[in-house]
């Protein structure tokens, strides 16, 4: 469960959100510049609250950011994984070493086993000994996903992480991923532009517009309302 109460100014842009995300899968929709990525970065702790920002973020009941007390738990202490469109694989490390990067607390055997499991999960087992330079965009995104999952975070943040995959592969990965995340009880927040992702995953949907929460609810309901709103706007114009 992620509790959000945020009022954050970024230049001329104001993020103003207050909600509780409790569903196992939440899909965040919104046009470019609506604040989706900023929201994920604030949850992950990669962006700090600035001097005039106010708000609080709690993950599974544990406060991780609180402007009132000046709390800012560093990203590595939030048990949060983030995969963005840009896979950000460490170019000097092989695929296995990338996936193992966050597993320093495990013994060698357990670490190797976990890396194999994660690569298997995302269908990238055959890439284990490759350099990130030798990967296609889609392969790199799958490896980045395995790397984020390997430490078993409590919360997974996905910012259009499978955009480089073809539709069929993306559906396969998403289905396998959703089932595995469900088993591991890892909550997921996914930013996507594809309504099919939301419907396929039976997600709760959050719609952001100009930094404000415009809608929150079950996928079918919210998407139907959004479709109607767009149709009305197109009709009006």
């Amino acid at each position: 469960m992620v509790e959000l109460a945020l009022q954050a100014q970024r230049g001329s842009f104001q993020l103003d959100i207050e909600c509780i995300l409790a569903a196992p899968w939440t899909v965040v929709f919104g046009p470019s510049g609506a604040g989706k990525s900023t929201l994920l970065r604030l949850i992950a702790g990669l962006n700090r609250m600035l001097q005039h920002d106010a708000g609080r973020i709690a993950i599974h009941g544990q406060p991780v950011t609180d402007s009132a007390t000046g709390l800012h738990l560093r990203p590595g202490k939030r048990s949060t994984g983030l995969v963005a469109q840009q896979s950000a694989l460490f170019p000097h490390l092989r695929v296995v070493d990338n996936v193992a990067y966050g597993l320093t607390d495990l013994t060698r055997e357990v670490r190797q086993q976990r890396v194999s499991e994660m690569l298997e999960l995302v269908g990238a087992a055959s890439l284990a000994n490759r350099s990130p330079r030798a990967l296609s965009g889609g392969e790199a995104q799958r490896v980045a996903l395995a790397r984020a999952l390997a430490p078993m975070p409590r919360l997974l943040l996905l910012d259009e992480p499978l955009s480089a995959l073809d539709a069929e592969t993306r559906d396969q990965v998403l289905t396998r991923l959703q089932s595995w995340l469900g088993e591991q009880k890892i909550q997921t927040i996914l930013v996507t532009h594809d309504a099919a992702d939301a419907l396929a995953t039976q997600a709760e949907v959050v719609v952001l517009r100009e930094g404000k929460l415009a809608a929150l609810g079950p996928a079918a309901e919210v998407l139907a309302a959004e479709r109607k709103r767009l149709q009305e706007r197109l009709g009006a114009s």
Binding site: P91, A134, A140
Partner: protein, 231 residues
Amino acid sequence: MDWQALALTLKLAALTTAILLCIAVPLAAWLALGSSRWRVLAEAVTGLPLVLPPTVLGFYLLVLLGPRTGFGRAINAALGHPLAFSFAGLVVGSVIYSLPFAVQPITAGFAAIDGSLIDAARLLGASPVRLVRTILVPLAGRSLLTATILSFLHTLGEFGVVLMLGGDIPGATRTLSIVLFNQVEGFDYTAANRTAVLLLIFCVLALVLVYARPSSLNTGSIRSRDGSRNG
């Protein structure tokens, strides 16, 4: 050829470079990635030896390390001898004088690394030390090579600070630059030419190394097979 001066010069340059790298890597990481408001001041102080006449720097170091200041007296008491006019004093002076030649290339190298790689490492729990050791240093290889060579060369050809702080003591503070100065002052142009050529060869070889751009160094961002950026 004054082999003793050559050996002393190389020893001074090697020691100074090693100390500088130990100081410059964490300092550059802080300058490149930190958000402290003291960063600008630190950058200005670090860059000061670039614009300060070496004799001015040498003079202040001579005063600071001499018996007239509390600091100088404390050093004297701790070591049993003053730092001024000693090899150790030259090392201190060289480290300060060459600091920007180590810090600036490394800071630029760290700052050029794709921010998403640093974010990824932080999210995966990397401490600042691990981040520097496993991500920044390997990805800024060429900047580190440049910093190493520039620091070495700058120390090799140092004159003003050496003369002010170390004087001309054979085997202790007489470096090749001092030897060259003495040879010119004594109108021994043949010997001066030999010394100058030696310093010139060192500098050319080192700069060739800097500009050779080994392909295995500096891999802060890559393109994947299909042309999209991976990091």
